[in-house]
């Protein structure tokens, strides 16, 4: 299918070009033919006036044909019109040559027509060949009829001209074809390249979204576990509390019923197990309060973490997002893992909260993975003169020297396949760089790993209305 599209494009390109050439040629004839009157006056003064009507006739016909060519619809029409025009010009000149006595000058003048078409036109060589044949026949026929002695020289002169013109036309067309092919192929390759770039960008956006989903998934799995215990407590304490109340209520009702005996009331009261109910009731209510508080704070931190997705950039202190993320990660950790946060309030900077929370989450997750079941993580933030700095330090094994150049590369991971896409640090670094900041591993820290993120307060990226490329503000999942 590409070949026929290419052919159609070539045909269209030829048509446009040949139409222009045909009009130029026709209009040239219109202007030049009357000037040849002066040539006639010089070479054949007696016949000049006699030739003039032919010349003017030919010019007029050319003008008509020029106007028709302007309206032509396809290449074939243009070539036919061209042929007709050049043909009529050749015939007129051939006729005048036959009538003239100084044939040599007229023959040279006649050959200009052939030279000109060879130089001007880029149409198929066979058309030029046909035109040359017509022209040669036109000039030779009367010369033969008149018994002219110069047929041989005329034929060889004009024949050579014709051959050169046909070759010229063929070469020019072939050059045009090659130029066309080159530029067409280039345009096609360019189009494919753009397509590929689009697809790559899409694929990148999808991978980033997938990494984000995976990260969120891991976080949520941990939180779901966290919510289960409080939920179990609340859910299962309702019936016992209801029972306690009902047994006490029954005693009260019995006591207020004038028909019950005091012994009956006392027996009912004893059955309540007052001491147990008193302590258990208050324990249950406290436990439920604590449980609800825990669920609420998980929900609040989760909302802060996820909320950033709906905003673009905002100018604010990034500590709340950082602290919410830390609190989310702290939950459900065994007592052998400590997470310390030393994060005071920071000056407001322009940032995208959603993506930055993703960066914090990524660094914390990496630190947790590094220390395993036992160790400590220290998160510190501070204001530098020109920006803010957040560092995440862990007491894990650190990054081995041979792997140092690769840690920020996409798909590089030292973890098992199931627990990460390997994109976390690559994406985190990209997000930080888009904020005009830096994310680096502190090479001077040897007791584990220390990642340092720095964001500038002012910089070319720090406009509140600047937008991060589309992939970091994906629509939120329903």
């Amino acid at each position: 299918m590409n070949a026929s599209i290419k052919q159609a494009a070539w045909d269209q390109s030829c048509f446009v070009r040949e139409r222009m050439e045909a009009m130029v040629a026709a209009l040239l004839i219109v202007f030049v033919e009357p000037w040849w009157f002066l040539f006639d006056r010089a070479v054949e003064p007696t016949q000049a006036l006699g030739f003039l009507p032919w010349r003017l006739g030919s010019a007029g016909l050319s003008l008509v044909i020029a106007l028709v060519v302007a309206r032509a619809r396809d290449g074939r029409q243009v070539r036919l019109l061209n042929f007709v025009n050049l043909g009529q010009t050749s015939l007129v000149i051939a006729g005048l040559t036959a009538l003239a006595s100084n044939r040599a000058e007229y023959l040279i003048g006649f050959s200009v027509v052939l030279w000109a078409t060879g130089a001007t036109f880029t149409w198929p060589a066979r058309w030029e060949l046909a035109l040359c044949t017509l022209s040669l026949t036109a000039i030779l026929a009367p010369l033969i009829l008149l018994g002219s002695p110069s047929i041989a020289s005329t034929t060889s002169y004009l024949g050579t001209t014709a051959i050169v013109c046909v070759v010229g036309v063929a070469v020019r067309r072939s050059l045009h074809r090659r130029a066309f092919e080159a530029s067409y192929d280039l345009a096609e390759a360019n189009g494919e390249l753009e397509q590929t770039v689009h697809e790559l960008r899409d694929a990148q956006a999808r991978m980033v979204a997938a990494e984000k989903q995976a990260a969120l998934g891991r976080l949520l799995a941990g939180l779901s576990h966290e919510i289960n215990n409080p939920l179990t407590i609340v859910q299962n304490s309702i019936d016992p509390l209801d029972d306690y109340f009902n047994t006490v209520l029954r005693v009260l009702e019995r006591a207020q019923d004038s028909t019950s005996s005091p012994e009956r009331v006392a027996a009912d009261a004893a059955a309540v197990e007052l001491d147990f109910v008193r302590t258990d009731h208050s324990e249950a209510v406290d436990a439920m309060r604590v449980a609800c508080q825990r669920i609420r704070s998980i929900h609040r931190d989760l909302r802060t973490f996820v909320r950033g997705d709906t905003l673009g950039m905002e100018v604010a202190d990034l500590s709340p997002g950082l602290m919410a993320t830390i609190r989310l990660f702290r939950r459900g950790l065994p007592s052998t893992v400590q997470v310390e946060a030393d994060c005071p309030a920071l000056p407001p900077i322009a940032h995208a909260p959603g993506p930055l929370n993703q960066v914090f989450a990524n660094l914390l997750q990496n630190a947790l993975d590094a220390i395993g079941d036992e160790g400590a993580i220290h998160v510190a933030s501070r204001s530098t003169g020109d920006g803010v700095e957040v560092s995440v330090t862990d007491t894990g094994p650190g990054v081995p020297a041979p792997l140092l150049p690769q840690i920020f590369e996409p798909f590089f991971s030292t973890k098992q396949a199931a627990s990460g896409t390997g994109l976390g640090l690559a994406i985190s670094q990209q997000i930080v760089q888009q904020h005009g900041g830096t994310l680096e591993l502190d090479l001077t820290y040897t007791k584990g790993a220390r990642f340092v993120m720095w964001l500038p307060t002012h910089g070319e990226h720090q406009q509140a209305n600047a937008s991060i490329p589309p992939y970091v503000s994906q629509p939120r999942p329903a």
């Binding site: 799995a221 779901s224 576990h225 289960n228 215990n229 939920l231 179990t232 407590i233 859910q235 299962n236 304490s237 019936d239 016992p240 258990d280 324990e283 249950a284 436990a287 604590v290 449980a291 459900g332 065994p334 007592s335 052998t336």
Partner: protein, 140 residues
């Protein structure tokens, strides 16, 4: 209805159940919910639970899976060595842990209960597990 009949004449001894969970509020909840149905010993440290298993017989243990230092699964495997006739039920929020599923297939753990649980579900599972054990050990 078997062991959960209210008629004192038919009442067999309540099942002797060891409950292990590091969350004290959860242990108090268990007591609140099951005190009329089970004769429970509540322990917040799996190591203490192992010590207890050496001195006292239980019919069944209800164990939380995610605990520090020793997981519920490890406790079940070690405890099975001390009291082979005991049944083990794992309480867990992660209901598709491959290790636990494998343990059930191998017969080391009798059942898995996902969190959050409710009273009826837990009692039904306990009944089923004890009946299964009795059938296995009562077979000729």
């Amino acid at each position: 209805m078997g062991q959960f009949d209210d008629d004192p004449a038919n009442l067999p001894a309540l099942p002797q159940v060891l409950v292990v969970d590091d969350d004290a509020a959860m242990l108090r909840l268990m007591n609140r919910v099951f005190r009329k149905d089970l004769d429970m010993v509540l322990v917040d440290d799996p190591l203490k639970a192992l010590d207890l298993l050496e001195t006292r017989a239980f019919d069944l243990a209800l164990v939380d899976h995610t605990m520090p230092r020793i997981s519920g699964l490890t406790l079940a495997i070690r405890g099975a060595a001390l009291q082979p006739a005991m049944a083990w039920i794992m309480l867990t929020a992660h209901d598709s842990l491959p290790a636990v599923r494998l343990a059930i297939e191998e017969g080391r753990v009798d059942a898995l209960l996902p969190k959050p649980w409710d009273r009826v579900q837990v009692l039904a599972e306990i009944q089923r597990v004890l009946a299964a054990r009795a059938a296995r050990h009562g077979a000729p």
